[in-house]
């Protein structure tokens, strides 16, 4: 079992460890790690006198110094942050609520609800983006007519076409799609709480939502932490939904532009703008740093301080 086995056995053991690890490590290193660092590295290169060469931090100077670039970047970063805030405020509470209800063992039809609520999560962004675009379309009139039915037609406006509302609408569409993930993970965490703890709480007179807030919620905090960081990484790397519903320009007037769409436009170019792999790398590097900061805050600031309970 251990490395302190007899020397005669040692070489044989080493070989099969290498064989077991090799395929995964090779593919992962070659396709993920090397390109990632190579991309970070390329952000330091750019055209010099018509040839590509080392330019140091010039790309970042352009990104933050050139008013056109920096306006685009800060706009995308702020939009992305707002996108994330909506997810944290809407997706996770709804996920916790649904999971808490579902975890009641006496509830009937649990399996049906679980399966149905998870369905949007398995659909692709292409489907989700277009479905909601059609439903919210003033042309088709499903959303306005439904609001009409409950006497709130005046509330309707073509949200996806409005600069002020488009991003929030898309964030809510994304919440609609992904609420199944926090729901499932928290549901699993709630099920793993031993019955004795719940019974002890009931004997002490804690039931219903009081029991939930005093007993279950503290116990699932680590799961909520994991969900938050997964949401963060997912949001700051999002692209598909915006691209599908608003195009690479992330209209109207860039109001739904997030870092993923900015990276795509910069790297590949769009309409009159030429594609620029080095500026694209610079934006990817910024995304990498943002995600790194978020993950570090989680790992060192939150996770280590969180109390974990062993059952």
């Amino acid at each position: 079992m251990t490395a302190t086995a007899t020397p005669a056995q040692k070489p044989a053991r080493r070989w099969h460890i290498a064989v077991f690890l090799a395929p995964a490590v090779i593919v992962y290193t070659a396709i993920m790690i090397i390109p990632l660092f190579s991309t970070l590295f390329q952000s330091l290169f750019g055209p010099i006198d018509g040839q590509r060469g080392f330019v140091g931090l010039r790309n970042f100077q352009t990104l933050f110094g050139d008013p056109r670039w920096s306006a685009n970047f800060w706009n995308a970063l702020w939009n992305n942050t707002w996108f994330f805030i909506i997810h944290m405020l809407v997706q996770n509470p709804i996920g916790i609520l649904l999971a808490a209800i579902l975890s009641n063992p006496n509830l009937r039809l649990r399996g049906f609800y679980r399966t149905a609520i998870f369905i949007p999560t398995i659909l692709s962004f292409v489907i989700v983006g277009f479905v909601w675009k059609l439903i919210l379309s003033p042309l088709w009139g499903i959303a306005p007519n439904m609001l009409d039915a409950i006497g709130m037609r005046s509330l309707f406006s073509p949200w996806l076409g409005q600069e002020g509302a488009a991003l929030t609408t898309l964030a809510l569409v994304s919440v609609w799609q992904f609420v199944g993930i926090p729901m499932m993970l928290i549901y699993a965490a709630l099920l793993s709480i031993p019955d004795e703890i719940i019974e002890a709480a009931e004997i002490d007179g804690l039931t219903g939502y009081k029991q939930f807030f005093k007993i279950q919620l503290p116990l699932i905090l680590p799961t909520i932490g994991i969900i938050s960081i997964l949401t963060f990484v997912g949001n700051f790397n999002a692209f598909d939904l915006i691209y599908v519903s608003q195009g690479a320009q992330a209209g109207p007037n860039g109001s739904t532009d997030i870092l993923g769409t900015l990276l795509y436009r910069t790297f590949f170019g769009f309409q009159l703008q030429q594609g620029d792999p080095n500026m694209g790398s610079a934006i990817a590097t910024m995304m990498f740093l943002i995600i790194l900061v978020g993950v570090s805050i989680y790992l060192f600031g939150i996770q280590t301080r969180m109390r974990r309970y062993q059952f």
Partner: protein
């Protein structure tokens, strides 16, 4: 008595919330699928009505089958998804076994290295991945996508599977060793069958993002012959945006296979999650 009544109220409230949310989750899918089978006029006149003999029409599907290449796109998606899934599960399980079974010098470091990819999205390396695929001539091939998705799926697969493999009893493996089984035999015949539930969970978690991905097909394999169904639907709908019948039919065609797969595997997925694979 009072507790009975309060629990009844609570049950009703629970069902009310769950039914409301279920409707919200299913309504958009329902609207799309229902209207895909209606004539253009009826799509607009009464979008919420079920298709009846008068309004029933397959004109949208006719446009899709005559104008689009959906059969090919499905085939591409299937090839890419199944091949990537196979590689992720096989390579992931092998690496997870090495990490959970043997103590060697760089084990913790290796575990950390392989876990990096859970938090850092592979998309950030796109610039260099594309250059690499261009240099090796893999652009517009299934291989490019399979390689990328394998790399993307491995970190989480290794993480979940190694947690699971630690729970496989040592006695069993040692009994196998005493019987003279090689380490490979122990892995393939003793350990793999025992972690099947975890493999199923990993499979579903790996499969969904691969099938649904738009970024890499758009960048690495946009050619007609390698388009996946997600990209194909996106391009098709972009071209036929004013032909509502065709758009709705294309969306329905994209929804149905995933839905069927999900309904087949959902029990396995939920059992996998709730058995503690992802805590």
């Amino acid at each position: 008595m009072s507790t009975a009544r309060s629990s009844l109220t609570r049950t009703i409230a629970s069902h009310a919330i769950l039914i409301a949310y279920t409707l919200l989750a299913l309504f958009p899918v329902f609207v799309i699928v229902v209207n895909a089978f209606k004539a253009r006029r009826d799509i607009f006149n009464d979008p919420l009505a079920l298709p009846n003999p008068e309004s029933f029409s397959l004109v949208g599907f006719e446009t899709v089958t005559s104008q689009g290449n959906f059969l090919l796109y499905f085939q591409n998606s299937l090839i890419v998804t199944i091949a990537s899934l196979f590689c992720v599960l096989l390579f992931g399980a092998m690496a997870a076994f090495a990490l959970s079974e043997y103590r060697f010098k760089f084990n913790p470091l290796m575990g950390l290295y392989l876990a990096l990819g859970i938090m850092i999205p592979i998309r950030l390396g796109t610039v260099a991945i594309l250059q690499m695929m261009v240099a090796t001539g893999l652009v517009n091939t299934h291989t490019a996508l399979i390689l990328v998705y394998t790399a993307q799926g491995l970190p989480l697969a290794i993480f979940i599977l190694s947690e699971f493999m630690r729970t496989v009893s040592d006695d069993l493996k040692n009994a196998g060793r005493i019987d003279g089984l090689s380490e490979y035999k122990i892995f393939f015949t003793l350990v793999l069958p025992l972690v099947r539930p975890a493999m199923a969970t990993v499979a579903v978690f790996t499969m969904i993002p691969i099938w649904n991905d738009l970024w890499f097909p758009l960048i690495l394999a946009p050619a007609e012959s390698t388009k996946t169904v997600t990209l194909g639907a996106q391009v098709f709908i972009g071209q036929f945006v004013t032909n509502w019948n065709a758009v709705l039919a294309a969306l329905t065609l994209a929804i149905i296979p995933v839905l069927v797969l999900y309904l087949i595997f959902s029990r396995q997925l939920i059992r996998g999650i709730t058995s503690g694979a992802v805590k």
